[in-house]
């Protein structure tokens, strides 16, 4: 899914970088979607929509909390397996079916859903309004419903496992931050995804049963529709009630992974463990009361807008705490540059850079000029796109040996990281300037607007970075698949880490530990503890005489 999502972005970046330019190869692959090698307008919108959907839900949600939760939760809490293997399997197959349907929707008549990944009605309800709102939209809704089922089953399993199956001695305050992150993410998912389903069900009813939840006073295709009294804005409230927590569902697991990787490779305890957990909780809670900051220009009551400005900017406080705690963890550490560590430091940088522009967007008075411009595109791609994907890469490099018993190649990891961070910033940083100049997003071609000519030369630069960045992911793919078969055999605890997963044997066995389950005596971050000779102490090591435990 990730490969598909990235390739789509390259396709539409070709059009945005060089509007109207003909790329013969496009016609070969896309047929009538790219007549004469120029991307079709409807196809452009379909690609941006499905790129967004796949990236947000199928890659960043399923790829981070879906995969890493299932891998790390049992290993790091000292459990034989997840609480319910059955739920786990159901969740997996629902996801598989949902992915197939989403990709299949690209091939139906009229094309895939094209109204943006936020599928605002009435555009998404009325096939008269755009071809993508026909069969493609129906499949989108079906696919997302299955996806939510998958996500809910998975999340319930994570919560239950973390609460019930922790091994002896592993109190909540001794959990690694990864587990805390997965735990809070799962709670966010359970509370917010059902709201998306209800929004989708109402939308479906408007589409096929003639109800009017989101429709009112519409004249389209030469006909006045018999639907009055609904409100399109209602959908936006429901959608963003999921949509905003979703941002943190994507981001929090990445933050958890980077906390673990940074502490291990700085050979230092993560700074302010309790503050890190507290700020995750604060971010999780606040994420439920900020949704309408996506809706400042919908005509919503301005006073309501003020309230959401306030709550939104509050999120900056726990975020600042996290950023500074990461930096303090690096301070006077002994930093080992594994590829995972590089990606984690990169994550902190993108989290800060992207978070800061969020402060500007959260200010409703400023959002009026920036809403739906490239500034927003730059902001969220850096803060949630790059950060989450960096967290994912860090996790893969770090725990690869737990997945396949082999190591990934470090040198290729370096090349991959440096190309990715340069291209990542190269693509999304200039977008802020394009947006400040007033360029709307989701424009097929903005070259006809004279007032945008000042920043027009940035568009091809962005596209070049996007193409190089996408290509450099091939290095990662190669490294990943080649290492599965030919990578160096791993040792039990390659990173000299403290957590429980590194006490399991290298070869996979059923039930994780051959003997009895390990017993935990200390927290997950005893690195360079002056009481001990070694610069790391496994969680299973009993306290020394006179040592104060955590």
């Amino acid at each position: 899914m990730g490969i598909a999502g990235v390739m789509m972005s390259v396709l539409f970046r070709l059009q945005l970088g060089w509007p109207g330019e003909s790329f013969a190869i496009l016609e070969t692959f896309m047929g009538k979607w790219a007549p004469n090698g120029v991307l079709d307008r409807n196809a452009y919108l379909a690609l941006t929509t499905i790129h967004g959907t796949i990236m947000v839900f199928f890659v960043l949600t399923a790829g981070l909390s879906g995969t890493f939760s299932n891998l790390l939760i049992p290993l790091q809490i000292g459990a034989r397996d997840m609480a319910s293997g059955f739920l786990n399997m159901l969740s997996y197959w629902f996801f598989a079916v949902s992915s197939v349907i989403m990709l299949f929707s690209l091939m139906v008549e009229g094309g895939a859903a094209s109204g943006g990944w936020t599928i605002y009605p009435p555009l998404s309800i009325l096939p008269q309004a755009m071809p993508g709102s026909g069969m493609g939209m129906t499949l989108w809704l079906v696919s997302m419903t299955l996806f939510v089922v998958s996500s809910l089953l998975g999340s319930l399993n994570y919560i239950v496992t973390i609460i019930n199956l922790r091994t002896k001695g592993l109190s909540m305050t001794r959990l690694p931050l990864t587990i805390w992150a997965f735990f809070i993410t799962a709670i966010l998912g359970v509370l917010s995804f059902p709201v998306l389903v209800s929004a989708i069900v109402l939308l479906m009813m408007d589409r096929i049963m003639g109800t009017a939840f989101y429709l009112s006073d519409i004249f389209i295709g030469g006909e006045a529709l018999d639907a009055t009294g609904g409100s399109p804005i209602l959908f936006q409230h429901l959608f963003w009630f999921l949509g905003h927590p979703e941002v943190y569902i994507v981001l929090i697991p990445a933050l958890g992974i980077s906390s673990e990787v940074i502490a291990t490779n700085s050979r230092k305890p993560i700074f302010g463990y309790k503050a890190m957990v507290g700020s995750l909780m604060a971010i999780g809670f606040l994420s439920f009361i900020v949704w309408a900051h996506h809706m400042f220009v919908t005509g919503m009551n301005p006073f309501l807008g003020s309230v959401f400005v306030f709550t939104t900017l509050l999120i900056a406080i726990p975020s600042a705490v996290k950023a500074f705690n990461y930096i303090t963890t690096l301070w006077r550490g002994n930093l080992i540059f594994t590829p995972a560590m590089l990606f984690s430091i990169g994550l902190v940088s993108t989290f800060v850079t992207g978070g800061l522009t969020g402060i500007i967007l959260a200010d409703s008075a400023l959002d009026v000029t920036l809403h739906d411009t490239y500034f927003v595109v730059g902001h969220f791609h850096i803060v949630m796109g790059l950060s989450a994907i960096f967290g994912m890469f860090a996790g893969v490099y770090h725990w690869f040996s737990k997945m396949f018993g082999r190591m990934m190649n470090t040198k290729l990891g370096y090349v991959h990281f440096w190309l990715t961070i340069v291209c990542g910033y190269g693509v999304f940083f200039p977008m802020h300037f394009v947006g400040l100049a007033g360029a709307p997003r989701r424009y097929y071609d903005s070259s006809s607007f004279d007032f945008l000519s000042a920043t027009a030369d940035l568009q091809p630069i962005i596209s070049v970075f996007a193409i190089i960045g996408a290509t450099s992911q091939l290095i990662f793919l190669f490294n990943f698949f080649y290492s599965i078969f030919r990578g160096q055999k791993a040792v039990q605890n390659p990173w000299k880490s403290t957590t429980l997963e590194w006490t399991t044997p290298v070869e996979h066995i059923h039930g994780n530990w051959p003997g009895p389950l390990p017993e935990v005596h200390r927290w997950a971050y005893d690195y360079s503890n002056p009481v001990h000779e070694e610069d790391f102490v496994l969680q299973t090591t009993p306290l020394k005489d006179g040592e104060v435990g955590h």
Binding site: A24, R41, L45, G115, Y120, P122, A129, S216, D217, I218, F219, I220, D226, S231, P232, I233, K268, P269, F271, G272, T298, G299, P302, V309, L313, L314, V321, I327, N334, L335, F337, I345, V352, D363, A365, T369, D372, T373, N409, T410, K411, L412, F429, G438, P440, R442, D445, S448, F449, F451, T455, F478, N479, Q488, W495, Y525, Y527, S528, N529, P530
Partner: protein, 440 residues
């Protein structure tokens, strides 16, 4: 083309082979395990952080110099406050950006791995953590206060003498409407939209036009259905069955089969008509689906007429008839004008999907939502001519763009705006189309 694809595949295979070679070589040459980072690698990566920092910061500064004056000065009164707020916020954000990223990139250089050193055990420090909780809180409080002040200024109610302009959107163009000499906008209803009345302004004539038009459509559809062959044949056999009731059915004792002579005459007349149509060759053949679609269409058109009938006349408080005031409304397409220095209250409406009226030069944006009129007020402060002088660009024009994806031609949905003196504006407005005139 095929050659090119072949070439790509060949290059791909070579690349993979090369990568595999590098992979193996790098593993052998180092003679180290993957997790053991050599001193050379540590040095290289720590230096790369510094290089990256300088390049990143330099390009950031370059972008600010090259693209920093992103938009011309604000052409509206509230926009000046917005720009000031933006500048302060940007300055703050950029400052934090540089400080935090500097720390983040210098630390990896400074504290790179050294096997002779042990990291400093520093699990927490309440004082430090308090500092970076309280300081951001205070700074954010300031941002919130100034932000909300500007927000309140922008979104407060418009004054009584503001000029109201309606901006009407549909796929894929904009229409502006100004109230006529009576100072009132005519009421509108989406059921009254016709090509000649694109905004659906309610007038007695408009109601009649739509009524006639929709009734005409219904009659035409009904006429087609009336001569549909399959339908006629079915009806024919029904009538025949009724007329010869009991003959073919075993339960002739049913009372319903007793038909009166009048009924019989009526049915025979009907049967005659059906036979006439069938023998004349006028009958049309429709598929079941097409027949049902037409029936469905008639049902919807009936509902349309019903909704039009439900429209109620009303009077304004000053006694003007609500169905009369729309007649002198002025309707403008392509480009609309605004007088300088007057408060303008826009009312946004949409016919089909959500659009967004984005006027970047006025720092203004508001969604146009079907069924939900929205408002936004601005006071233009710079005329188009002055702006052309300021920018030294005789081609410059203010613009209204659609900024909510609305379909294939979304990116082309724009309208020009001209700001000029009150006198010029008055004379321009006097020349614009009057709605009633369009009806004739």
């Amino acid at each position: 083309m095929k050659l090119l694809i072949l070439l790509v595949i060949v290059v791909g295979v070579i690349a993979v082979a090369q990568l595999a070679k590098i992979y193996q070589l790098s593993a052998h040459m180092r003679g180290l395990r993957e997790e053991e980072i050599s001193e050379a690698d540590t040095r290289m990566n720590s230096s790369l952080w510094i290089v990256f920092m300088f390049v990143f910061f330099a390009t950031t500064i370059w972008q600010f110099i090259r693209y920093g004056d992103y938009l011309p000065p604000s052409a509206s009164a509230h926009g000046e406050s917005v720009d000031t707020l933006m500048n302060y916020n940007l300055a703050l954000v950029i400052f934090v950006f540089f400080v935090v990223n500097t720390l983040l990139f210098v630390f990896p250089y400074k504290y790179r791995y050294n096997k002779n050193r042990k990291a400093h055990f520093f699990p927490h420090d309440t004082r430090l953590e308090l500092i970076w909780t309280v300081v951001p809180s205070v700074v954010l409080a300031v941002i919130i206060i100034f932000g909300l002040k500007t927000w309140a200024e922008m979104t407060g109610p418009a004054s009584d003498d503001a000029i109201r302009v309606e901006i009407y959107s549909k796929q894929f163009d904009w229409t502006a409407r100004y109230a006529g000499d009576d100072g009132h906008f005519g009421a509108t209803d989406f059921n009254l939209i016709t090509p000649a009345n694109p905004l659906g302004i309610i007038t007695v004539e408009g109601v009649k036009v739509v009524n006639d038009k929709v009734s005409g459509k219904i009659a035409k559809l009904q006429a087609t259905l009336d001569i549909e062959k399959g339908y006629l044949l079915a009806q024919k056999s029904d009538i025949e069955a009724t007329l010869h009731g009991g003959d073919s059915h075993g339960h002739g004792d049913h009372e319903s089969h007793e038909i009166s002579p009048e009924q019989k005459a009526h049915l025979e007349g009907r049967l005659q008509k059906i036979n006439d149509v069938l023998s004349s060759g006028d009958a049309v053949v429709l598929s079941d689906a097409a027949y049902e679609a037409k029936e469905d269409k008639i049902f919807r058109l009936d509902r349309h007429i019903q909704r039009v009938l439900e429209l109620q006349p009303f009077e304004f408080s000053d006694g003007l008839n609500g169905w009369e005031v729309g007649k002198d409304d002025r309707i403008v397409k392509g480009e609309f004008h605004l007088p300088i220095g007057r408060e303008i209250e826009f009312v946004f409406r949409s016919r089909d999907v959500i659009h967004s009226a984005f006027m970047p030069h006025f720092r203004a944006q508001m969604n146009a939502v079907p069924g939900l009129p929205t408002r936004f007020k601005i006071t233009p402060t710079i005329t188009t001519d002055s702006m052309r002088t300021i920018l030294d660009n005789p081609e410059f024009n203010y613009i209204l763009l659609c900024n909510k994806v609305c379909g294939a031609a979304h990116f082309n949905m724009a309208m020009g705006i001209v700001v000029e003196s009150q006198e010029k504006y008055d004379s321009w407005l006097a020349e614009q189309n009057v709605y009633a005139a369009e009806q004739n």
